[in-house]
């Protein structure tokens, strides 16, 4: 007889950890919860010694069929929280209502207001630093004070008080019990001082709860179904194939691997694995006259919302701007060479929301079904129309910044914010999970994470991923509280 659990959770990233956090509040004292994680526990010490966030190379878990477009993943305990940059912006209210407000894309089946309270909890757990003002409505202040602007940010804020903000970020402004303050190292994917929130440094405790059994190096191959329900999972441990049964199965394996596991389980839907997307990133480098950059207190020192919410979204993509405050990142041409003008240069990343295309996909690799396979044929015209307006946007920024010239405009290979492959919605014909992330067909199967996002907002996804997990867990236990 396979072992039986109340709940089996797949993955240990943001989606699974925040779900477990709330689920444990409701679970009975004798509940049996199994967590299966494909990777190892690569400790911070190991990561720094090996200059890597995972001991499993990405090509061991997926095949990318378009090498111009990158998709980043870091298998292991804590998932991509090990390598994320700690950007913790909420989505804007309009991101949830693209269709009803602007007549494009599709609405999410839930609203900003549905998530507002959960966003607050996530920000507390992550100890997020953020602005005292805010581009979106909030019911409480950020737990940490804001970072310090660079001089270009300060000028932009002065000129566009409603359009420029301190970053919402988990790169700590002040030390927490488990993290030192950020020192603007500029290499946040492997923060040398552990200043950003990760599952390892901030939420590992939920996996140590006595009700939880955590198995590492236990890749899940599929979900088993019987009688219209998910009956359990099949996973590997070493050479062994193991079956485990559960009343509730929760997938939190990311937008790359949730569809991969579902496809391998023969759980079909015409949209499953389609609509792989993320924001379109464009990196703009500007030379300034007489204004010094890089003097903020964290790697990304400002966020521009000037071109985000508004009627322009009817025609072209919204945009969130990041000010890169790190001459150290990637060893680019960070400095000018003219005497006394070394830091009169600013790097900005413009991130445009994308309307997902059905021909961008995650599938199962035919030669080796244990590998996922990504295909990317391009961004939507909507995103491209937005990016085409960069020269105009730079003209607007020039009202606040003495811009001497545009040094370069380069489309980036990734924002590392993978989304959209197990879409949520109210109608089972056009979506795979419902507004509470429950599979339309298998009602004891939850599929968490950004795979459910119907459209990509310009904002970073992970606090929304985490808030959605709390929302899903709350719904599951509604009436029990």
């Amino acid at each position: 007889m396979p072992p039986h659990y109340d709940t089996i959770i797949v993955g240990t990233g943001f989606a699974s950890a925040f779900f477990l956090l709330r689920h444990l509040e409701y679970a009975s004292p004798d509940a049996k919860i199994l967590v299966l994680e494909r990777g190892r526990l690569d400790s911070k010490k190991w990561q720094l010694e090996n200059r890597a966030t995972s001991s499993i190379p990405a090509h061991n878990v997926f095949v990318n069929k378009n090498l111009d477009k990158h998709w980043l993943t870091s298998p292991g305990f804590g998932g991509n929280s090990n390598c994320w940059w700690g950007g913790a912006t909420r989505m804007m209210p309009g991101d949830f209502q693209l269709q009803s407000r602007y007549g494009v894309g599709i609405d999410w089946p839930l609203s900003y207001d549905d998530l507002e309270m959960h966003y607050g909890v996530v920000e507390d757990v992550m100890s997020v630093s953020g602005p005292v003002d805010s581009p979106m409505p909030r019911s409480k202040p950020f737990p940490q004070p804001p970072h310090i602007f660079s001089d270009p940010d300060a000028r932009l804020k002065k000129h566009f008080p409603e359009g420029w903000f301190h970053p919402a970020t988990t790169r700590a402004r002040v030390a927490t019990a488990s993290r030192p303050a950020c020192c603007a190292s500029g290499v946040c994917e492997l923060c040398p001082v552990d200043a950003k929130f990760t599952i390892q440094n901030g939420l590992a405790s939920v996996f140590h709860d006595p009700r939880v059994t955590l198995l590492l190096e236990a890749p899940v191959d599929g979900i088993e179904t019987a009688g219209g329900r998910a009956s359990g999972v099949v996973y590997r441990q070493g050479d062994r194939t193991v079956h485990a049964e559960a009343d509730l199965v929760v997938l939190g394996a990311s937008a790359l691997f949730n569809p991969h596991i579902l496809l391998r389980s023969n759980i079909q839907h015409p949209l499953l694995g389609k609509r792989l997307h993320e924001q379109m990133p464009v990196d703009v480098c500007l030379d300034l006259k007489g204004v010094k950059a890089y003097n903020g207190s964290t790697t990304i020192s400002g966020n521009g919302y000037l071109f985000y919410e508004g009627e322009h979204r009817r025609d072209h993509a919204a945009c969130l701007i990041e000010t890169w405050n790190a001459p150290f990142a990637y060893g680019r041409n960070a400095f000018r060479s003219e005497r006394d003008r070394w830091t009169e240069r600013v790097f900005m990343r413009f991130m445009f929301d994308d309307l997902p295309r059905d021909d961008n996909t995650v599938t199962v690799n035919a030669a080796n079904p244990q590998l996922a396979e990504t295909r990317f044929n391009g961004y939507s015209d909507y995103a491209l129309r937005g990016a085409a307006l960069i020269p105009k946007m730079v003209e607007t920024l020039a009202q606040a910044l003495p811009i001497e010239g545009i040094v370069s405009v380069l489309t980036g290979a990734t924002t590392a914010h993978i989304q959209g492959t197990v879409v949520m919605g109210d109608d089972p014909a056009s979506s795979i999970v419902d507004r509470h992330l429950i599979h339309h067909q298998y009602r004891n199967l939850l599929v968490l994470g950004a795979s459910a996002f119907p459209t990509a907002a310009p904002a970073y996804p992970s606090v929304t991923v985490s808030a959605l997990s709390l929302w899903a867990a709350d719904h599951l236990h509604e009436g029990q509280a």
Partner: protein, 145 residues
Amino acid sequence: MLTRRGFLLSLSAGVAAFAGVRYALSSGEGAIVTVLQKRLHYLILDDAGVHAFAKDLAASKMITVGKLRLAAAAGLLNFEPQSMNLLNTMLRQGEEHIVSTYLLSSDFFLRGADVTQKVSYMGFYDPFAYACRNSFARFTLDTDG
């Protein structure tokens, strides 16, 4: 008689041929040294340090051999921001990449960017090893940060 257009054409052909010869003969390390001497002519550079940096940068393969040879071919020619054709832009960015990496690898910014002091190479820049050695970042508010 040589027309103005003919003159310009032969001049650019001459420059191209010269650059071509330099390209063929160039070494990566030599290109790096030339770029630093050209772009940072106003600094007192420690010669041995510059050569050691050039060796380390070439070995790091951060900049491709092709790009280094292009920089070597450009030699002492200066490409200014105003002239934004593709080759100029590429060259300028490549040169500034070398300059940026050198400045980060030196004690220049750590000693307050004092152009009257000799600049010393401290070892190839490693953002992980020197994580909190960011001399630009401000962590306390002065006025309106």
